[in-house]
Symmetry: C2
Subunit: 348 residues, 2 copies
Amino acid sequence: MNSPQRMRRATIRDVARAAGVHPSTVSRALGNGGQANALVNAETRARILRIAAELNFRPDIAARTLKTGQSHTVGVLLPDLTNPLFPPIVRGLEDRFAEDGFVVLLGNTDDDAQRGELVLEGLLSRGVDALVVATARRDGTQFLELSRRLPIVLINRVFDDQLVPSVATDEVAGVRMAVEHVYRLGHRRIAHVAGPQDLSTGRNRYRGYVAEMGRLGLTVEDSMVCRAGLYSPDEGSRCARELLQGPHERPTAIVAANDMLAIGCYQALHALGLNCPEDVAIVGFNDAPFSDLLSPPLTSIRFPHYQVGLEAAQLVLERIADPSAPIKVIFLPPELVVRGSTCTKSTT
Amino acid sequence: MNSPQRMRRATIRDVARAAGVHPSTVSRALGNGGQANALVNAETRARILRIAAELNFRPDIAARTLKTGQSHTVGVLLPDLTNPLFPPIVRGLEDRFAEDGFVVLLGNTDDDAQRGELVLEGLLSRGVDALVVATARRDGTQFLELSRRLPIVLINRVFDDQLVPSVATDEVAGVRMAVEHVYRLGHRRIAHVAGPQDLSTGRNRYRGYVAEMGRLGLTVEDSMVCRAGLYSPDEGSRCARELLQGPHERPTAIVAANDMLAIGCYQALHALGLNCPEDVAIVGFNDAPFSDLLSPPLTSIRFPHYQVGLEAAQLVLERIADPSAPIKVIFLPPELVVRGSTCTKSTT
DNA sequence: CTGTTAGCGCGTTCAG
DNA sequence: CTGAACGCGCTAACAG
């Protein structure tokens, strides 16, 4: 409590005056460049740092930004933070960025073009050094253009031509793991409750199912696939009934495109008097937080969302450091979480 | 595609040159002050605005910040975005702030004092105009001091002396609603699975239970309360067994301090061969996203997290506009969501 | 190794 | 109503 409370924050000039040096010396002493070790006398530097700390000095980033054009700030554009997919991603971004002194500016777009435009403006005018984009419905070319002026990293969204760095979870690999898992357990009649086919997730997961069935030498019968219109328990239930009640031989395993759909499958099984996993095994997708609370606990595919955030941040930092660095596209593999819905293991 | 692609963004000077006026005229035309209507000739102004739009001009906020000291940026300090409590709050903050052109800078502290300090520094040095604080473990006096220099709004954390504006959910009222609900259904032996008593949530909810039991003229017997050590299904199950198996008369309703604990109660009932809601009614707390997926669907207390965000942002904006505005402390009441775990209503 | 000078883009004086 | 000049706080370039 020795320093008097001042309303105005201490500036670099205050520190300079107190240390009896020139402001620019202070600037150098604060090691802005990184190679600051040799730029200023060691003991002068020590004194300056001490005094700066005493005065509770904090560099004004606005001024630095104005001067250097670097805001040490990264904009994150996403549809809706409330979607449980995103918090771990944002957390990952933030954690990695924090290591390098970067901060995250958040922008929710609601997948609304107009709001998206507005939010984007807001971020750009604040001089973000880079952009992380996780919004789905947006004209790709727009980002391609932007990416020439600003490092941009896409999340869960890869351009076919791979001209923009991206990090995505490998959904196809995920479904393949699910199908292979039940195959190894002895199942041969493996059905798929597909997600909405107008969403990329629905399509990709369906493709993964088809691909893995092919690899295993199993034929994909039409009667073994049902497409849900929504990712909802009701649609899952409808599809499961259709798959289980048809005239064909009953499937012994169902791979659902999503945990919500899997819950619907549970309900259908229950209504039809069938047991899981004895009569029908079920695999979900996403490993939602409640998956292990169901009975039986749901086997599911878990995605490394936090790592996606970490990797994306890493990519951003690399491109800020060297904008001409090669464009990387990273696919992160998911993990199979085996629980009671596919294995009869007695739980105490 | 008529304007040539330039790397550097258009500045106020470019606009001035193109419009044949002085930069300061452009600055005025862009209506920074608000009372700009009379400061500049209407048609000159119109022309400038048109040209600005053509040139895709966006004011550099860093420069503006440097000049005015207002960054139109608000820092949000929270322990962990991954906690499902926070995304809707942040969303509410963002939505309200967006209306006034403010943007959210995110900072996760992990309730770690050191990291918290670092993050706080980062936000302050970026010149945030205000702070929204939702971290729990922090010396209150620190914020009291800060709040003299900067508008601060606390979330879910109220100082006894109410010297800092805050928005919080009314947890006591929530438990009271839960208890009253089952009372109205005819229950008299109402038990409570309390949360950890070293957390404010656990304490507040326990207090609410005691208060409402008192109001209803019911005595709080020791045997009707069990304290969980964690908010986990396992602890919930342990407590429920204790409550249900004791030598005393069995409770007919259990009010749990949290949905996780309520799930544990389900498991205990199941293990003991009891039915919900016929034998024992159960009320959860928080209305987690999975609550309506359980069987029976869980009656729970829902908190208006999104509104908390909205209100907090509103408070912040009010205090930015007038730092001497009166200090408000807002409690938002929760909502009772009645589902199958307390009412026998046949579900198709 | 340190002091000097200039300017980033904008808003706000103060004259005209 | 508009032009001119200045400075916010910091850093980069050039001298010394």
